[in-house]
Symmetry: C2
Subunit: 140 residues, 2 copies
DNA sequence: CGACTATCGATAGTCGGCTAACGAAAGGAC
DNA sequence: GTCCTTTCGTTAGCCGACTATCGATAGTCG
């Protein structure tokens, strides 16, 4: 049963590496693309909101956003009405690569799951959901 | 199809976090337990050999081994016949927690996959293998 | 024997995840 | 109107993964 775990880890690592490589061509790293996905949907979110939507800790977003700001993908702006909040906004450049990144993402998923039949994908999805539910339940 | 990817990431994260928590009770972190697994099987391997068996880059092992040495889990010894090689040996303490770690690992896997039927586990395994094969193939 | 090459571990620096602790701002209670 | 608490983002530091580079040692070839 632990072999299943090993397979899981191995597959995840390969997928992540391939994603990173595909995105890197557009100057976006694998973690950054997740932030962009959310901001493309709704710009000007706070680090806390981003963290919550991505299921990640706030400092992860803060660090990532700093690198993304350096890379010219986002800008930090103080909320005018609440001085505690910081709003993260996309730059023109981030908007310009949206289609490329979305396509890269879709192509990669299509490639990764290409050898699975529709039924197998359903099975995989339901298995993943079951595992997630199981691990999220209070009993841990 | 990218939802499948998201589910994958989410499940992996939950599994990893739970594993780390379970191991940490015995002073072993999630990455270190992988190194121990290999060394319990064959002690005195070099960083390069460990890296190859775990499918990981050598510096990852070097850093991990340093932390494990600090934690009293392993010792570095220079190979007597080839001065380039370093051999990593388990300490008595590392051997003493072997059963605990192995059990924790097995318990966690059992728990994670408890809500899957035998057939579903088979499906999951074959899907993972297909994905791994696909991502490893030259076409990338 | 001596120089060149290959091999190997270690180091530096990046990325992305975490927890713990801190500091600034907002809001409530009195 | 002042404290006190809550709510934020940030910082610091750990873990684990990577690439690129360096330094030391082995091995080979002339």
């Amino acid at each position: 049963m632990t072999d299943l775990m090993r397979l899981f880890t191995r597959a995840h690592k390969l997928l992540r590496a391939a994603t990173d490589e595909a995105m890197s061509r557009y100057g976006v790293r694998v973690g950054q693309n997740l932030v962009l996905e959310v901001l493309w949907e709704q710009d000007g979110l706070t680090p806390g909101e981003l963290a919550e939507r991505l299921g990640v800790a706030t400092p992860t977003i803060v660090k990532s956003a700093s690198r993304m700001a350096t890379a010219g993908l986002v800008e930090r702006r103080r909320d005018p009405t609440d001085g505690r909040l910081v709003r993260i906004h996309l730059t023109e450049h981030a908007r310009s690569v949206q289609q490329d990144i979305a396509r890269a993402r879709a192509d990669l998923a299509a490639h990764a799951f290409a050898t699975l039949t529709a039924a197998e994908r359903k099975h995989l999805e339901s298995a993943l959901v079951k595992i997630i539910d199981r691990m999220q339940s209070p009993a841990g």
